[in-house]
Amino acid sequence: MPPEPPVVSPRSLDEAFAALASAPHRPVAGGTDLLVQITGEMGEPPERVIDLWGLSELRGIAVEGEALLIGALTTYTEIRRSADVARHLPALADAAATIGAAQIQNRGTLGGNAANASPAGDTLPILLATHAQLVLGGPRGERTVPASDFWTGYRQTALAADELILRIRFPIIAKRQVRFRKVGTRRAQAISKVMMALAWQPGDDGAWREVRLALGSMAATPVRAPRTEAVLEGAAPMAEVADLAVATLADELHPIDDVRSTADYRRAVAGRVLHRLIRDEGGW
């Protein structure tokens, strides 16, 4: 095993930004992604690490105005137990419950999931489907980046080297519905083959409006499916709508074959998951 890289453990955000300004550091939050690299068996360990775990400013869940705010260091266990999440965004608690198992949920964080930028990051389709905003902090102050602009390429983000994710802001929209589905090899401890988050606002006429469909493990980044959204927009959750949406989705998605699954499987399963989701909502 290679020697462990040096680490600094700042006690405040200001200290953290000062360290980041002095030299590039790889941030570690709950460690569930980074610690795998420490042994050197999965690629090179980072040269220098900054430990965020002690930054209490980055913890906690709150409702402020018309938004649910979740600190970047909030763990999946905390998300699962939060009354605010249960009330305003239960789909996020559903997603958190599918991640790893107790050991991972006690350590893995929402900010870490976003910053790690894996295409298989389980919470990321929810951020995309709900118009979440990532509030970033750095020596130049705070800035807000919409989730749609945050993942810029395979494992690439809009974060500058001296910035950290501070919190994630989910707009609270009355009556909006959000659902999450995940398909992996088993129920726990599985890296996803297909993930889906679907959001909509039900109209009085039974039709869906403001439909947002986001998927994970389908491309180099989490992606929306705008053509499929257009099929669902203004339509009611009926069988013929579901059939057309699935056909559109199959045409719109371009997944790859890799160690966890095949492109054909991912495309077929994404379609079935969407079909079943629409059927469940339509009650047919």
Binding site: V7, S9, V36, I38, T77, A102, Q103, I104, R107, Q189
Partner: protein, 156 residues
């Protein structure tokens, strides 16, 4: 660097790099080899310990993040040489076969018992979903945790 924490109730000071895995600090620096390394990547749960009562994979926790924390390992379960309720239940039901998953199963089981959750088969299986048994002796492990729950066990 030097880190102070509590391990099985005793204060310890570990002189080691902050990014040392808690697993290595326990096994190599403190000689507590009850905690096992299986996969080293958070898949198997063999290295499970409790940090401030929460079950974690000690291969994924850097030492710098347990400064001031209370860590419990399998060595801390028995009291005065006598097995605790959960350990005795594992023995009674045959919940241990080859044994490599057993320390991690015990710690995940302790966390479940201490949580006060209703001990149904489903809730027990969820509680140990992060722990793999290569002998696939899950049924007896679930029985052991249910038996301990019935007898009123719980960590700490």
């Amino acid at each position: 660097m030097s880190y102070r924490l509590t391990v099985n109730g005793d204060p310890v000071e570990i002189e080691a790099p902050g990014m040392r895995r808690l697993l290595d600090a326990l096994r190599e620096d403190l000689g507590l080899t009850g905690t096992k390394e299986g996969c080293g990547e958070g898949e198997c749960g063999a290295c499970s310990v409790l940090v401030d009562g929460q079950v974690v994979d000690s291969c994924m926790v850097p030492l710098c993040q347990v400064e001031g924390a209370s860590v419990q390992t399998v060595e801390g379960l028995a009291e005065d040489g006598a097995l605790n309720v959960l350990q005795a239940a594992f023995l009674e039901t045959g919940g241990a076969q080859c044994g490599i998953c057993t320390p991690g199963m015990l710690m995940a089981g302790e966390a479940f018992l201490a949580s006060g959750a209703q001990p149904s088969e489903e809730s027990i299986r969820e509680a140990i979903a992060g722990n793999l048994c290569r002998c696939t002796g899950y049924t007896k492990i679930v029985e052991a945790i249910a038996l301990a729950a019935e007898r009123g066990s719980g960590a700490g």
